[in-house]
């Protein structure tokens, strides 16, 4: 049954994460820490006129947290800040609540819903997202 948690698309993102690396002069950035396992992720963005022009992440973590960060960058890039927040809301619901996930919004991200069955892994799936949210509140 762990095949359901570790779907192909997740393994693919965790092995070859998209948008990984650093942005030299981000307009927004924040770090996320999971003090219990030591996972850590840094999310950097360039936001211009409310639009996420560029987003990258760096850091270490398990397959779930890396894949989630990678998919997140793809999901929010080119969207407005408000849209990005909405996507996080939908995603957060999908990995914590029992309702059917909203596939139209989530696309690939829906593959992470498997963590629901592994409560201690939910934090892995949301780590980068919380960092993004914090980054959008702060400035660089």
């Amino acid at each position: 049954m762990l095949q359901e948690l570790y779907q192909e698309v997740i393994l693919d993102h965790s092995k070859s994460p998209r948008n990984s690396g650093v942005i030299d002069e981000p307009s927004h950035q924040a770090e996320g820490f999971n003090p219990f396992c030591g996972d850590q992720v840094k999310v950097m963005l360039i936001v211009d006129e409310g639009l996420i022009q560029e987003i990258r992440f760096s850091g270490q973590g398990c397959a779930i947290s890396q894949a989630s960060a990678s998919m997140m960058t793809q999901a929010v890039k080119g969207h407005t800040v408000a849209e990005a927040r909405d996507i996080f809301k939908t995603f957060h619901k999908a990995v914590t609540e029992d309702d059917e996930p909203d596939i139209d919004v989530l696309n690939e991200l829906a593959s992470l819903c498997g963590v629901k069955a592994y409560p201690s892994r939910i934090k892995c799936a949301t780590l980068a997202w919380h960092a993004m949210e914090e980054a959008l509140e702060n400035h660089a």
């Binding site: 003090p35 219990f36 396992c37 850590q40 409560p119 201690s120």
Partner: protein, 405 residues
């Protein structure tokens, strides 16, 4: 009595004899006896869910984390706090006050500032403030207590006017005299004068309902073992905005965000204040105790204890005892003295008859000296007591009087 006498059957320790007589436990303000369900909750933790919390990579860890965080939420609801992160688990009420005195003072206390501490405080709500005052060059000034054993509100008001008061530390219920302090009024006065407020709730938890979100206080300190729960755990309630600004107290695992030799950063509350391995075993027991209290009802407990207290005061007075203090609002605690019989001698007589009472200064030395007493004998009541328990005490008084009169 307003509570069914069957409640007593739930307490295994009360089913025994002591010195050939049925145990009569009249020292619940020191520590309450525990119902079987609380004892079982602790054993059950060790038998099924024993693991560290917050490390939930495996099933037992998830169970212990759920029990621990479940206890936090339960306590939050029980005392009417707005957020679960306002509840910090400690090893007891004393540690809760030390934590607050330490972290709050580090952030706010300055040279020559004043901390007002009532004269009736337990040493646990005096000494930590004296220590903090010494570290920061501040002053601890007593709020006088009236002859009735109430906080003197007039004098309190003038102390607030004259001094740059930063902290007012007062107990909810007095463990020595039973006085229920008007904490809402005291806190409101303190806040108007710009002071922070610590309420020592050690004797409050199982005896008076509180809704901390409606009180203008910063801290409320509690002990599980005085509220039918296990020893080894207590809690500090702190308002969210207050806790957020405070530095950590103890350092170690679980309270950090990241550690390095260059720069260590800390978690948000409550984690920041909970260093080291947590105690989910006793948290589970504490939660079960809160369920027990909720099922019986805090109001029903207070009424039960009040009925016994009033009858007991009369019996004691008829037997020649002087009751110490006559506050308007009083919990199920009676301090008394016997002419020509030192309390310590008396306790040996009551012990011989199987009755457990407390004698001495009840960790309230300043109160005792302000009352001019070397100490008192104290009866403190809980769910399992009945007025029959007092008969033994009267018997002990008579037998002591035969020797000392």
């Amino acid at each position: 009595m307003s509570l069914p006498s069957s409640i007593r059957c739930q307490f295994p320790a009360l089913q025994q004899e002591v010195n050939g007589r049925p145990l009569v436990y009249l020292d619940s303000a020191a520590t309450s006896q525990k119902p079987q369900r609380v004892i079982d909750a602790v054993s059950n933790f060790y038998e099924t869910s024993c693991a560290n919390v917050n490390r939930g990579a495996y099933e037992l860890g998830r169970r212990s984390t759920n029990l621990y965080e479940g206890a936090r939420t339960l306590l939050q609801e029980f005392i009417g706090a707005e957020h679960s992160e306002e509840i910090i688990f400690t090893k007891g009420c004393t540690e809760a006050i030390n934590l607050a005195a330490n972290s709050w003072s580090a952030e706010y206390l300055e040279y020559e500032d004043v901390i007002l501490v009532s004269e009736m405080e337990h040493h646990a709500n005096i000494v930590p403030w004296q220590m903090a005052a010494e570290r920061h060059g501040a002053r601890v000034i007593p709020i006088p207590v009236t002859f009735d054993c109430e906080i003197d509100l007039d004098q309190f008001e003038s102390l607030l006017r004259e001094e740059p008061v930063k902290m007012v530390a007062v107990k909810h219920i007095c463990n020595a005299t039973g006085t229920i302090n008007p904490i809402e009024q005291i806190a409101t006065m303190a806040k108007e004068a710009g002071s922070a407020v610590m309420i020592d709730g050690a004797q409050g938890l199982a005896h008076q309902r509180v809704s901390v979100k409606d009180l203008p206080i910063d801290f409320y300190a509690m002990a599980s073992h005085k509220a039918y729960g296990p020893m080894g755990i207590g809690a500090l309630y702190g308002k969210r905005e207050v806790l957020r600004e405070l530095p950590p107290y103890q350092g170690g695992g679980d309270m950090i965000r990241a550690v390095s030799f260059e720069d260590t950063t800390y978690r948000k509350p409550p984690g920041r204040f909970e260093a080291g391995t947590q105690n989910p075993a006793d948290a589970a027991g504490f939660a079960e105790a809160l369920r027990f209290i909720s099922e019986v009802g805090v109001e029903a407990l207070h009424q039960h204890e009040t009925e016994i207290r009033i009858a007991a005061e009369k019996m004691l007075q008829d037997a020649g005892a002087d009751i110490v203090g006559s506050p308007k609002e009083k919990a199920g605690i009676i301090s008394f003295v016997l002419p020509r019989i030192h309390p310590h001698d008396f306790s040996t007589f009551s012990d011989q008859l199987g009755a457990a009472i407390r004698t001495g200064h009840h960790c309230c030395m300043p109160l005792m000296s302000s009352l001019g007493l070397p100490g008192t004998a104290r009866v403190s009541l809980a769910a399992y007591n009945s007025i029959e328990d007092l008969n033994v005490l009267i018997e002990a008084i008579e037998s002591a009087r035969r020797i000392f009169a």
